[in-house]
Amino acid sequence: MACSQGKGPEALAVNQRIDVSDTPVLVQESRYPPGDLALWIFILAELLVFALFFIAYAFTRVKHVELFNQYQATLDRNSALANTLALITASYLVVRAVAAVREGDGQRCARWLWGAVAMGGMFLLIKGGEYAHHLAAGINLSTNTFYMFYLSLTFFHFMHVILGMLILVVLAVKAGQGRYGTADHVDIESGASYWHMVDLVWLVLFPLVYVMR
């Protein structure tokens, strides 16, 4: 987009427009936060919802400590730990992907992204296994307050992992097609930001729901 700026003694007239469209853009303008601002508004909204749920969980737990402790013990902490490792690894792979595309290597970027998707898939499998186990035991949202929170929080997060993976898949495909490079990779940064949010939420959820007594 063309814009005009005062530049000293030869400053242009205030309204004069310069056409810079045929000047090659070598490096993507570095902005903070990276990625599209609209997505950041969305990320903040998501974090707000999760925060509200976490606070609700905390307040409710205080009122039902016995119940929460009792049923928290029925959760599989090892699976949750494995899931934590899967998500952190995925985030690491996403970081590598962003670095790769900043250097202009779309192919490498795509490979890192596919790796992250695979890690995400592992999360879904492990969590899905836990859900199957609960379902077989007849547990659902109405079983008791602890399970209501546990299932709601983790399922809501689960759906976000799916959405995050979908975003990474789309980005991986496009990166593999050479659609992103040093000069333009805002979408990769946006998708990476979203994925990191999903990871961050789990990093709060895991200790809060699975561990803290």
Binding site: A38, I41, F42, L48, V49, L52, S142, M148, S152
Partner: protein, 467 residues
């Protein structure tokens, strides 16, 4: 007016205003019945006058949405309406069906109307806002299909803009969710659960898309701000609407027999439902501040800004006040609900329709861009009279509601409903007085169409030089 076929919007707008008057007259009747209990009893019992009041509201807003669509879609799509003739036929079908239905409500006992219209074949009557006989509902579906078809064909074969696409999604959603009004199981909990798929997913869902797209259209036209900017914000606003409002449906599921977890899901998400309305307010004021022209239709700009503010206050703030389940436990089904309902409907939907009429009517009547100064001044007076009196209606009902909740639901010695109603009568009288002022505002509004007709139109000012 850029396209001839935009003219079909005019009868829709005229019908909308006419039905609006009917709605307010019946509103005054039921407002009076609140304090003079046997007023018009038994010829027009409260429930009959109420269903006329609410049904007229919904129908005139639908006429308004249709008129708005018929006006803006040809302009956005850069082609004539697919079938102006179909639009006119649809208009008369809808108007006659609506009139007959209202006459049915007034002239025969409701149970008799049910029998006469064959309700037992597919019983859909007798639920709030959906009192229409089943055959009327079928008529509404046909009208909606014809309308969406006409508008859809126009958009799909012309230029597709974000404004028209969002409008179309909203209108299709409106039509689809109305179908749930045909589902009326014996199971009261399921009846209520899916009833809200019509009502909530309309007014806190797809109707907001319609509102957003009309507001965006009017702002593009009156401020001259780049369409790209306005359409981008429209997407953000409607995204937040559905992200918060779909699960926000849960705030109607607290006490109707649905599982308890809705108290959590509904509270969290519906607490966020004010966000899109807040964004709309910031967006509207921002666009007007960044305007690149001073549009001669100042009344329209006033309506547009007013819509954003009142929608935020009525739907957003007042909604928030009673949306959290621990609060709602005490206020559910009280005058707090009525307070919110009035300001929300007025602020969001009445005002956006009046905004669009304000923008389009001068051109539908042959002006280039706006009506005369005299006409606009009277119109702006009507804006203030109606808006301020609605604020007072809301405040008085809120007062009534707080007292009602305290006396009937909260204290150690809860008092019976009727006893409490007597105690809050003063609030109802004050509400009724405010209602009369509202009617005066509405009369002024109608008068504004009849004054200054032969005066020259307000002038188009030159584009301001940008700094």
């Amino acid at each position: 007016m850029q396209y001839q076929s935009q003219a079909v919007a005019k009868p829709y707008f005229v019908a909308a205003i006419g039905l609006f008057v009917g709605q307010i007259l019946f509103g005054l009747i039921i407002g009076l019945q609140y304090v003079v209990g046997d007023f018009l009893f038994p010829e027009i019992p409260f429930n009959v006058a109420r269903m006329v009041h609410t049904n007229l509201l919904i129908v005139w807003l639908l006429f308004g949405f249709m008129g708005a669509s018929y006006y803006l879609v040809p302009e956005e799509s850069e082609r004539e309406l697919f079938s102006p003739k179909l639009a006119i036929i649809t208009f008369w079908v809808f108007l006659v069906a609506g009139a007959l239905t209202v006459l049915g409500y007034l002239l025969v006992p409701y149970a008799t109307l049910a029998e006469m219209t064959g309700n037992e074949l597919l019983p859909t009557m007798g639920r709030e806002f959906l009192e229409q006989p089943t055959i009327t509902k079928i008529g509404i579906v046909l009208v909606a299909l014809s309308f969406v078809f006409n508008i859809g064909m126009t958009i799909l074969s012309g230029r597709k803009t974000v404004v028209s696409l969002v409008l179309l999604i909203g209108l299709v959603g409106l039509a689809v969710f109305f179908l749930f009004s045909f589902y009326n199981p014996d199971n009261l909990v399921k009846d209520k659960f899916y009833w809200w798929w019509v009502v909530h997913l309309w007014v806190e869902g797809v109707w907001e898309l319609i509102l957003g797209s009309i507001l965006a259209f009017v702002l593009i036209k009156t401020t001259g701000v780049d369409r790209e900017v306005i359409e981008k914000w429209l997407y953000v606003i409607i995204a937040m609407t559905l992200i918060t409002g779909i699960i926000g449906t849960g705030h109607h599921y607290y006490w109707i027999g649905a599982p308890d977890y809705w108290q959590w899901w509904g509270s969290v998400f519906s607490a966020l439902e004010p966000i899109p309305f807040f964004m709309m307010t910031v967006f509207a004021f921002n666009m007007v501040n960044r305007r690149r022209r001073n549009h001669p239709n100042k009344a329209t700009v006033l309506w547009a800004l007013g819509t954003a503010v009142m929608a935020f206050l009525g739907a957003g703030v007042w909604g928030f006040l009673h949306t959290l389940s621990p609060v709602n436990y005490y206020t559910h089904g009280s005058q707090i609900t009525a307070a919110h309902g009035h300001m929300a409907f007025y602020g969001a939907y009445v005002m956006i329709v009046l905004t669009m009429i304000s923008y389009a009517m001068p051109m539908l009547r042959g002006r280039k861009a706006a009506s005369s100064n005299r006409s606009q001044v009277l119109e702006m007076w009507s804006f203030w009279l109606m808006t301020v009196s609605m604020v007072f209606i809301t405040l008085f009902l809120t007062g009534a509601g707080i007292l009602q909740v305290y006396l009937q639901r909260y204290g150690a010695d809860p008092q019976p409903f009727m006893v409490v109603q007597d105690k809050i009568a003063l609030f109802y009288w004050m509400r009724e007085v405010s209602g009369v002022v509202f009617l005066i505002g509405l009369i002024a509004y109608i008068a504004s169409f009849f004054v200054g007709g032969s005066d020259p139109e307000a002038t188009l000012e030159p584009v301001e030089a940008q700094a």
